[in-house]
Symmetry: D2
């Protein structure tokens, strides 16, 4: 993972700021012959698009993706795919205040300290808009996975907003696309709607937990040490802005378990493939996929742009206070769901290619 | 991060298995002129060494490091430093059982499925012995940091064993080196000792949480998107075997906070540097260090090698059960403390070099 | 160097094909605070632009560059710079012939064999148009070099077309920009003009040698083994399409010299810096710059698109012949001059950053 | 290619100096299941070993390789392979002279200027001893190629020493292993023997040209732009110490050809595979292998350590002269033959894996 690139063989470099003319993803290493159109990718972008409901930012962006290279007659050619999204909603506005003041919880101050220059008109590279490029790249990755490993399904959903967690007993896969929070617990969705209404009115925001699952993966993806599947997933999720924690399987709760409780027992399934009594491991043992669901979870911190007065300083070091007005999400975690899915797709594809490169087919049969 | 390498400019490649002749770290990109001796590195290895107390594995390894290259007359030359540790305690033993059976919770089954070959005499690359190489590399990184950014302090400690967490009100920095658990809470250390005694007798194991702090870092380390300081820390920690979750600052708990509670307010300190009202961010905003303590936390799952009978299958797919005898840790998290410190040191050094490379000195003064 | 990326810290990824909507360069790792505008970059692109004189392809392209990201108020921000060039001259034309037949000397056949898909409307990624993206990136690199190491001058020129070499005794630096061949030998320019006229009329083409020099570099850039300055220069030049050989200093002729003749003797200059009796080494010893001129030379093969009938096969394996009509260069080497300069600029900047990253300032004073 | 690493998926990092305890190669990304022993690798090392005949350095080194990791029961496991060679012949000797004086043509002065520290007891990293590690890695690469692409043959030989070139009409493949110069021209071998005798007596040295051929490669290896097969070969060969020029196929001579002469015509062979009228391209079109012989050529400069008095300066900047005594090669190019073969093997294997990773099987059939 270089400064603005991730992936080993399927390499995604994103570029662009929230208030420049465009942003996008330069995708290198995609296999040739993958059927792809702008519409296929647009489908995934539309899920992330702001302004879709009252729980997300009201900035209106078409987020229309254009494929500028690497695709010929509806198929990838194996050369770099350029996915560009133009910024259309750049309302003229007075930025004088945030040009001088550092917004607490934002990257304003650290960017300034590091680079000595900063596009104060928005979050620059740390804007949530950057994640549109990831979602576009993820759409391409999904199409490639379908070619290489048909049957793999990647799905993200919310499991917590603030103090309010879902009830796993009410987990209903079919509910995920039926509510604005992509949550599998329909009752939680109702409760969250009320909670967020209150929060928005009070000008506050809240954090969230997103879980992303990859189903139907073959065993054998990953590597034992640094190229672990979980290492790359952790990096991928932590690289999303506002993410502060990443878990695989049991995650932090693994610390509370005994070895007896934690180790998933192994049996032979009816189809001659190993099955497990449970999935504490989150589908990964020793850095390598087991064939179970790969389960990743990450925490998104609350948006720092709130209507509450906060103490801060100016660029010249004077004490002041700030209220961040503007079009912001009360719970930026909602829009992180399609982003987490996209990152999962990119990592999975990368490891499918890596495995094929080093090993070819899986080598160790059981039974 | 390549398959067995991590780091951008300070690049560490570890090699070796638990039961081969040796293991080590090939370290590329170390600055020249860093004062280093085998003794300096040995100091850190001795902290990780097994068999030091009854709470860690009784395997006896000298873990003596040899510097084979890259150092001349007590200073690094800027060329690759080879740090080799010979394996000395390879008791002859009957491995017949684990050669055929997959141990639940271990990488045995996934290695076999991926590679079709497996050094069944130990965990191979997934053995905790691999972490000795990381600690050696971390010792070198610490020495280089001292040259580049004197005053930086890196310290790890345990905050939880199983259900037993420390009490932050009893946090005493000076206690960390005074107990076998490297915990800042002396009362917790006593409680944990009893708890682990019972656990060992019953042949069980338990997970743990380790926290690593870097103090005295300059502001400006990291990058906005994929090369975020937190991304690299998350990858570094998740790449340690048995780690299942990684947190920065508030970590997963950030999901439960409101924006008002979470965003650290900014003030000017007496020394003309910004200070913050709190450190929910864990010292990193927008991927870049703020100058506050950088705080990382990770969960280590319980050792899967336990004296309890577990169901599993053989390589030929037959159902069987297994009890893993041998020299194992009831809480492998204890020995993960120096490993986490080493990874922190390597990541910090790497980002000091990256920042100097791209930016030189910090460019944005405040005040 | 990844599939479509080169550079360690200053990383350039080019994308786009000759007949797609656009092509460009995604440039990561540029230092912040570099003054840059589209006009600055356009200056270099205009030198490479086709259709400028009768010795280069008559395809008419504006080759107008747009900066889509990474620059704010006339300065780089330290985040990725996207440099996009739209393709405007895509005349509708019957491609039926070259869609089916493989042109000898072109990449048509190998692309097909590798990928099973090919944009037959032009050379795709292997089109000389790809080099426009390199020239744009090189323009940015030049601006950054000016900030980091003022006084460095990078200049390319032709030393040979076919059998016709320049006479080094007539080498006149001021002539380089005064003729359509960028050659320092004014008499050669006249001779070449006649020669190429005849060649174009006969529908043939010819190869060339380009030399690129970097003056005023500090000593100490590069590394001893794989990260050698000459290794990166060789890769950079060989990565240009149609290049078949690369030389540093004496190059292939070094094979004919004795040690006595080859080793440049060392003296102290009046300014307290070492000077050398000669520059057989091309400014690089042991992979590291000496402070003398860095001299790289590369051979460009003749354009394979010629009006001569050549034997070939079709995609279905039938024998046929082909004459490649169209807008092509009799000597593609001419337009390779600004491309070679651009690659030199990118490599030099990358090594300036790498050196600063690992070492900081030079450490070994003489005298 | 990082500072001391080359390769994308098959990654080789060499370490060690000429006068340290050991040197070696850390090889990451080797496929699992490759049959390999120390003896297999030793076979290739013995070809490079110094002191074998009077035309190479008389330093006596066993150059015995040890496999420290990554191999279990005679097969690679897919984890890093550590290949270590201990330095045994480090005669005690007075280095006072070369500790203070910079040897012309050597890296002494640039190392000092860059790093401010230098192992003056030998060339340090720039010693030809470093190439032993490459040859060891190449031995492993050859074994892996045999598994992946049986029938590939890699062979290097000398085509020139100083002014004396081979006669291609006398090219006899079977002669290559029959003379101390690995040259296919038996008459040249005789002439060279006399020539080098005289040169050694006079204390002088001379350059050479080495050609390396890979036969039996499949079409489709490489990539169109920066990941070109020829780019990686150029970098690989230029990274060998003392190499000053690299050519593919016609190489620099391509500049002298017309398009009509240069483009290899295409026909269908009897086995349904394309054949070519000639191989000016050196087996690579558009960066991708054609299936013909891949032909690389490189020039090695004369050893700079000669018994002739040369002017130089000391570390304190005083003018002086120097005669480099010691055990040195009159023509270091001879020992570069197995090194060039090793680099070819590593690059070929890397591209076999890369192709399999991104594309799988070749996709475009002809006929």
């Amino acid at each position: 993972m270089s400064m603005n690139t991730f992936g080993h063989l399927f390499r995604v470099t994103t570029w662009g700021e929230s208030h420049g003319p465009a942003l996008g993803a330069t995708v290198d290493g995609c296999p040739p012959g993958v059927a792809i159109t702008e519409a296929t990718i647009q489908h995934w972008l539309d899920r992330r698009k702001p302004g879709q409901n009252k729980y997300t930012t009201q900035r209106r962006e078409a987020d229309a993706v254009r494929i500028l290279s690497g695709v010929f007659e509806g198929q990838t050619t194996g050369t770099p795919v350029q996915l560009m999204i133009e910024n259309t909603d750049q309302r003229s506005k007075d930025y004088g205040d945030i040009a001088e003041k550092f917004r607490p919880g934002h990257a304003d101050i650290t960017y300034w300290q590091k680079y000595g220059i900063r596009d104060y008109r928005g979050g620059g590279r740390s804007s949530a808009r950057e994640t549109a490029a990831r979602v576009a790249a993820g759409g391409l990755a999904r199409a490639a996975i379908e070619t290489l490993a048909p049957g793999v399904e990647i799905k993200g959903y919310m499991t917590r907003i603030g103090a309010h967690e879902i009830d796993r007993d009410r987990f209903d896969w079919s509910q995920i696309d039926a509510n604005p929070f992509w949550t599998p617990d329909a009752q939680a969705a109702q409760r969250w709607a009320e909670y967020l209404d209150g929060l928005r009115k009070s000008g506050n925001s809240v954090g969230a937990v997103v879980e992303v699952v990859a189903r139907g993966l073959p065993a054998g993806l990953g590597a034992p040490v640094y190229g672990k599947l979980d290492t790359d997933l952790a990096a991928a999720m932590m690289s999303i802005n506002a993410v502060k924690g990443v878990e695989i399987g049991e995650g932090m709760a693994a610390a509370t378990l005994t070895g007896e409780d934690n180790a998933d027992e192994i049996f032979m399934g009816n189809d001659g493939q190993p099955v497990y009594s449970s999935n504490h491991a989150g589908g990964i043992l020793g850095g390598i996929s087991t064939g179970q669901d790969v389960v990743v979870r990450f925490a998104v911190k609350p948006t720092s742009s709130i209507l509450k007065t906060r103490q801060t300083i100016t660029r010249s070091g004077e004490a002041t206070d700030i209220v961040t007005k503007g079009r912001h999400d009360p719970c930026v975690g909602i829009r992180a769901v399609p982003v987490g899915e996209a990152m999962m797709a990119c990592v999975i594809l990368d490891h499918l290619l890596l495995h094929r490169g080093q090993v070819g087919e899986n080598r160790g049969a059981i039974g």
